[in-house]
């Protein structure tokens, strides 16, 4: 695979599949990787997402949950962080339990630019689509830089998976791993003229990253997080305000989008109080 191959991929048609859980790996208390036994090859591309629901959930919780693909293929996987009822159920699921996955959905990461250095900036569970991208880049012979931040050492799931395939730099707010502080404390040094940035994580982090990139005229692509009901463009529940005015719909015109277009001062993702992470 080369960067050109990454650029020329067609998006696969969307489909609702029924897939039993194949494996569940718990990482700390709050994070889990769920791998599904798909009936056929899932041709998702890095940055795309899937709407996930337990086939036996009944009437409540009602809606599927949007989750970025961590990997595609015959055993597609997601990385979840436990928040509310839906992710609690996912975190309890045992292999064999049937799930429904609608996907692949959404606009993937913009294809990398030949000759640029890719800098991937992630926070917590936002690492999922970035790890997918980092693997693609590694396959294409690149060695991206990944800047990965969390509140503490337990907020950095998948960091071991990143080690071989990128130049990894870690920050934690409590200093328990890597540099003490936030990704934005380190980002400045890394933003050279030939960089292009991909970011996914808490809204406030992405807003800060987007601002630093804009100031330095570095291209920055962000993956948006908003509540979603359908994931495929019909409910109009996922608007994200744009600087140019109006909205884009995160599920079909995102989640990956040029960060400069986003009005980061507008509320779109609910602020989430983190109760269950770390330990």
């Amino acid at each position: 695979m080369s960067i050109d191959d990454l650029r020329s991929r067609n998006l696969a048609p969307r489909k609702l599949i029924r897939a039993p859980l194949l494996r569940r790996e718990s990482i700390g208390q709050a994070y889990h990787v769920l791998t599904f036994d798909a009936p056929s090859d899932c041709r998702a591309v890095a940055g795309q997402f899937t709407m996930v629901r337990g086939a036996e959930w009944g009437d409540a919780p009602l809606l599927p949950r949007p989750m970025s693909y961590l990997t595609a293929g015959e055993a597609p996987s997601i990385l979840i962080k436990v928040f509310g009822e839906g992710t609690v159920r996912m975190a309890r699921a045992e292999p064999g339990e049937p799930f429904e996955l609608l996907g692949p959905l959404g606009v993937p990461w913009r294809a990398p630019t030949e000759g640029r250095r890719q800098l991937l900036v992630g926070g917590g569970v936002g690492i999922a689509p970035l790890l997918f991208l980092a693997r693609d880049l590694a396959d294409a012979g690149q060695k991206p830089v990944v800047l990965y931040g969390g509140r503490g050492r337990y907020d950095l799931p998948m960091r071991h998976d990143l080690k071989g395939i990128c130049e990894l730099q870690v920050t934690t707010e409590d200093g328990s791993r890597g540099t003490k502080g936030r990704v934005t404390d380190v980002l400045g040094e890394l933003l050279g003229g030939d960089t292009e940035v991909y970011t996914c994580g808490p809204d406030r982090m992405m807003a800060a990253v987007a601002k630093m990139c804009a100031e330095r005229d570095v291209p920055c692509e962000a993956s948006l997080e908003t509540p979603m009901a359908c994931g495929y463009g019909v409910c109009l529940g996922c608007p994200v305000p744009l600087t140019e005015g109006g909205y884009i719909y995160a599920c079909t015109q995102g989640p990956c989008i040029d960060a400069r277009r986003v009005d980061w001062t507008g509320d779109h993702a609910p602020t989430r109080v983190d109760t269950e992470a770390t330990s």
Partner: protein
């Protein structure tokens, strides 16, 4: 007539399963999933005279066996619908019900006339009951005089059948339905959402930017079923049932209560093929029991 077909006034539908406005986009989003022309019909997202951006986020949130939405009737406007969407729907042979919305009788009429100029609009559904916009919306729907006035005005402006969508918040819903019938409505659709709200106790704040949103999904079903029953009692035009229909059984319950057809709404978000599966499920049920869909209608009333 096939085992599956039903008749709504002068309109014969392939089958009794339609999709509900605002939960199925413009039906052009389903190419990957199934051929929407197989359905009894599709109701478009509510169309207004001019395009509307809709409410600021958050627009949706989940509740027990349901969800709240305050989309604010974001839509492309009737003009763009007629030029960009309708021709494609016509080409595919889709039965199109144009759901329309305005804050004045005059605008309802203007939108209607625009639609009347096009081929391929099989019915117009008047959304006089949207709870999520400041002006108009539910105010029409709660008041039988205003409902009747809009209905009569729209009927006067088109030959296309006119359906009126009932608000479950009207205190005397049977009277509102009767008033619409008297004003010439060809059918009633029931129900739209009921206003609810949600609070995030961790942040101590209201979840939806619009504060309130319309409750839809299975939680709404028992209320919708009761209203459909009452309307069928009150009027002699067809009533189309909506509210929390997720399974074949749910749809059959509405038919048994007297609905001539049903609309599938929130269930589309859980499974884009929900309406198609329900259609197939009803067909299978009727084959097994050797009945027609028309025989199911109102069977729990007998």
């Amino acid at each position: 007539m096939s085992r599956e077909s039903v008749t709504v006034g002068s309109l014969e539908l392939r089958n009794a399963v339609l999709t509900a406005s605002g939960t199925f986009g413009y039906a052009l989003e389903y190419d990957d999933f199934f051929d929407v022309a197989e359905l009894g019909g599709i109701c478009t997202k509510g169309l207004s005279l001019h395009p509307r951006p809709g409410n600021p986020p958050e627009r949706i949130c989940e509740t027990a066996a349901g969800m709240l939405n305050a989309i604010g009737l974001a839509n492309v406007g009737v003009e763009a619908f007629c030029t960009d969407k309708l021709p494609l729907l016509r080409e595919r042979g889709v039965t199109v019900i144009a759901n329309i919305f305005a804050s004045s009788v005059a605008d309802f009429v203007t939108i209607t006339k625009r639609l009347d100029a096009e081929a391929g609009v099989h019915a117009i559904e008047l959304n006089v009951s949207c709870p999520n916009v400041a002006e108009g919306g539910i105010e029409f729907g709660k008041d039988k005089k205003m409902c009747a006035q809009v209905t009569a005005a729209v009927k006067g402006a088109t030959k296309i059948p006119v359906w009126v969508k009932m608000s479950p918040e009207a205190a005397e819903i049977a009277a509102v339905g009767k008033a619409c019938e008297d004003a010439g409505a060809d059918a009633l659709t029931a129900v739209n959402t009921i206003r609810g709200m949600a609070i995030d106790s961790q942040l101590s704040r209201v979840r939806l930017k619009n504060r309130t949103g319309g409750l839809s999904g299975p939680a709404l079903k028992p209320i919708a079923l009761r209203i459909v029953w009452d309307l069928v009692e009150a009027v002699s035009i067809p009533v189309i049932g909506i509210g929390g229909i997720s399974t074949t059984r749910d749809a059959i319950e509405f038919l048994m209560a007297g609905a001539t057809a049903v609309q599938v709404g929130t269930a589309n978000f859980v499974d884009p093929c929900a309406a198609s599966k329900i259609r197939a499920g009803i067909q299978e049920y009727c084959e097994q029991k050797n009945v027609t869909v028309r025989e199911l209608i109102g069977s729990a009333r007998r």
